[in-house]
């Protein structure tokens, strides 16, 4: 039987193509299961998982929790505002406290890049990164690639453009790593102020004209504008952003082909994407959400199996 190569899921960076394909094959099975009348399996019975969220999250946390419950794991949820030296208890202390209650696996979201790797060096449990600042969001990238594979048959050779705030996006970085490992071509598109100067070092194409990017791609992944992550202004107004980089029906109709529209959610309707596009037949936004549960079940199932304990 194939085994997952990692003890933790810290980032797509650490995974091999085989790992990703194994996640997909496993997710196929779970997707079939969660569409049956009895959606629950006993795979993770007696495994305790803590969902520790230092940043607000609704959909990722619910998706993880649902995946855990469908696998029969015991779940505890912990939310806190970001911890730091100045704000009292340190991250390691917080997590060690929770682990003293015999927790096997930690799903963590944290505002600081590298926080999950930092934690993995200091504690014993298995860690799943549910987003570490502007670094990685591996389960999002896996479910996105899984959704492309489901819609288009495979990821290999497909052209995917990621549109929006690349600088502050962990979804972009993990997606780039994941899609490239699976053989897709990746382009980033957005205002120059929101694209890291050295992004080409990752082997991606760069485009600042949305129409050209759409013309090129098979799939457009429209990122959320994350004003909460921007400490200074990178563009004058959401209105202008939307004029330049927002996707609407008019722009789609100008294309001489059909493309797949994705969005990691939550959508700012009317900013990066208009309602008529988000709700159109091109959009696979809700499939992404459904696939999120299956992919996360697959990840936790595989990690539990790869665990040395």
């Amino acid at each position: 039987m194939k085994r997952f190569s990692q003890k933790h899921l810290l980032g797509i960076k650490d995974l091999t193509r085989e790992d990703i394909e194994l996640v997909f094959e496993t997710a196929d099975n779970f997707k079939a299961i969660i569409n049956r009348p009895i959606k629950k399996v006993p795979s993770l019975r007696d495994v305790t998982i803590a969902n520790i969220f230092f940043e607000n999250s609704t959909r990722t946390r619910i998706s993880f929790e649902l995946a855990q419950k469908r696998l029969s794991a015991d779940v505890i949820n912990f939310s806190a505002s970001s911890s730091s030296v100045s704000k009292g208890e340190t991250l390691v202390d917080t997590v060690k406290n929770i682990l003293s209650m015999k927790v096997d696996m930690v799903v963590m979201r944290h505002p600081a890049p590298g926080a999950c790797l930092f934690l993995a060096k200091h504690i014993n449990a298995q860690i799943i990164n549910a987003g570490d600042g502007t670094h990685e969001h591996p389960t999002q990238a896996l479910l996105d690639a899984y959704s492309i594979r489901e819609k288009l048959g495979s990821v290999k050779g497909k052209k995917v453009v990621i549109v929006g705030d690349i600088t502050h996006s962990r979804v972009a970085l993990s997606n780039i790593f994941c899609l490239q490992k699976l053989g897709a071509e990746v382009m980033v598109c957005g205002p120059t102020t929101l694209i890291p100067k050295h992004i080409a070092s990752l082997g991606v194409k760069i485009e600042h004209d949305l129409m050209k990017a759409l013309q090129w791609c098979d799939v457009a992944n429209m990122l959320r504008i994350q004003l909460e992550r921007q400490e200074i202004k990178y563009f004058p107004s959401l209105r202008e952003y939307s004029m330049l980089f927002g996707l609407n029906k008019e722009k789609l109709q100008k294309l001489n082909k059909e493309i797949v529209i994705m969005h990691p959610g939550p959508i700012n309707r009317g900013v990066e994407i208009t309602s008529d596009v988000a709700d159109s037949k091109h959009s696979i936004i809700l499939d992404q959400v459904e696939n999120g549960v299956a992919t996360r079940m697959a990840i936790m199932y595989l990690l539990a199996g790869s665990s040395p304990q």
């Binding site: 030296v85 340190t90 600081a112 890049p113 590298g114 670094h135 050295h198 200074i232």
Partner: protein, 426 residues
């Protein structure tokens, strides 16, 4: 104290004995005599002798940039622990930064450092802050501090963003021969940055501090120095562009000098691949091309000095998420070993001694020290091929934030002679 040093190879480009194997007779803090093979003669005058077996002997090293954390953060370092680490690292003099709490910014603050360090084996020479609380808005009483012995003026790791205040500080200090140090990092261009902007910062999802953040201030301050016609020293420059700007300014005859930190010479941004906060420093560790340009700058004299940029931080500020970790690494004790291990082959020990000993004294207008008969005995003895273990027990700093902790290092300081004392490393 009387002491005979036997079989030392003099490493002092200023001395006629440079490169020669000699014996030295030291008495009451003076090099009484220096000659090849004078063991028998010298040992008649002193019972205490030390055969250094072909180790190198140079004028005592002078560190132009270290934070010793006293007053205010004595749990990270104090003058005594800093001085002991410096002595073990081969330094006989250390210029200490005013980034203390309170800031060193009055005559009394400067006198405090001198008084408190009187009996320490290393001379500690305080810098005074240019502006009040290093906030960049109001000039301190620079002249009063100068009279009290402030060796020069700097706001440490805070860039003086207001060009007008920077210019007036340069003009004002020049009245009495005061020297200004510029820490170049434009805070607006560096906003949100935690490391060098490059392929590695993209890979780690961290916002970068671009080279241009340093270069615009280097360019600005060179133009200010040209306009007001005063000398100016740039502290710990890190980018290739800065080296080029300074090289050009010097060719044009401006009195511009510069130093570089050990960290910038021996590490790059690639060391940050796993978010190890011990590599989080200011200026940030830059790319390979910058690193090469810095070494080239040292080799051709564009960069005058190499500094430890010793920044002690406690575990509570380092063993946290990278984003929240404090900047800085300790380097006083390991500076020489790392330079020795990482320096390009064409850079000989004589050039290293210029950067570690001779040039800092010139720039800060301190008395020159040389290995010649009659000179004061301020000496560092070191062996480039000997190895030693750097670990928690041999570390003399109160802090442990050094990425080469628990490693074997090549290039060992055997001891210093300073203040009429011999301090041997075991």
């Amino acid at each position: 104290m009387k002491l005979v040093i036997l079989n030392a190879i003099v490493c002092d480009p200023q001395s006629a004995m440079h490169g020669k194997k000699c014996d030295l007779l030291i008495s009451s803090g003076i090099i009484d005599d220096i000659q090849p093979s004078a063991k028998k003669v010298f040992e008649k005058s002193s019972t205490k002798s030390w055969d250094v077996k072909g180790a190198l002997l140079s004028p005592g090293w002078f560190d132009m940039r270290a934070s010793l954390r006293e007053p205010g953060m004595e749990h990270k370092e104090n003058l005594e622990s800093g001085a002991l680490a410096a002595a073990a690292g081969g330094f006989t003099r250390v210029a200490c930064l005013p980034d203390t709490d309170p800031t060193l910014q009055t005559k009394a603050d400067i006198e405090f450092i001198y008084r408190k360090s009187e009996d320490l084996p290393v001379h500690l020479l305080p810098y005074g802050a240019i502006t009040k609380n290093r906030e960049g808005t109001e000039l301190n009483e620079l002249y009063d501090m100068h009279l009290a012995g402030a060796i020069a003026f700097t706001d440490a790791n805070k860039c003086l963003m207001h060009a007008g205040i920077m210019m007036r500080a340069m003009q004002y200090a020049a009245n009495f021969g005061g020297i200004l140090l510029s820490h170049a990092q434009d805070q607006h261009l560096a906003t949100g940055g935690r490391m060098h902007e490059g392929a590695m910062s993209v890979n780690l999802g961290l916002k970068g501090i671009p080279n241009i953040a340093e270069e615009v201030i280097v360019a600005r301050d060179i133009e200010l120095a040209r306009y007001v016609n005063t000398p100016l020293h740039f502290s710990h420059i890190s980018s290739k562009g800065s080296v080029e700007l300074i090289r050009k300014a010097r060719k044009q005859g401006l009195q511009i000098t510069a130093d570089v930190s050990v960290a910038s010479l021996v590490f790059t941004d690639e060391n940050l691949h796993d978010f190890n906060s011990n590599y989080k420093v200011l200026p940030p560790l830059r790319g390979k091309a910058d690193q090469k340009a810095l070494w080239d700058g040292v080799a051709d004299g564009t960069i005058d000095c190499i500094v430890s940029d010793h920044q002690p931080e406690d575990t509570e500020h380092k063993a946290v998420e990278f984003e929240y970790a404090a900047y800085g690494m300790i380097q006083l004790q390991t500076a020489y070993s790392l330079l020795n291990m990482f320096k390009p082959k064409q850079l000989d020990n004589g050039m290293l001694i210029k950067a570690l000993s001779i040039n800092p004294r010139k720039i800060l207008k301190q008395k020159a020290v040389s290995i010649t008969k009659g000179a004061s005995a301020e000496i560092t003895i070191f062996n480039p091929t000997a190895t030693w273990e750097y670990h928690a027990a041999s570390n003399l700093s109160k802090s442990v934030n050094n990425p080469v902790m628990s490693q074997t290092l090549t290039g060992k300081v055997l001891g210093i002679i300073n203040k009429d004392q011999l301090i041997k490393n075991i």
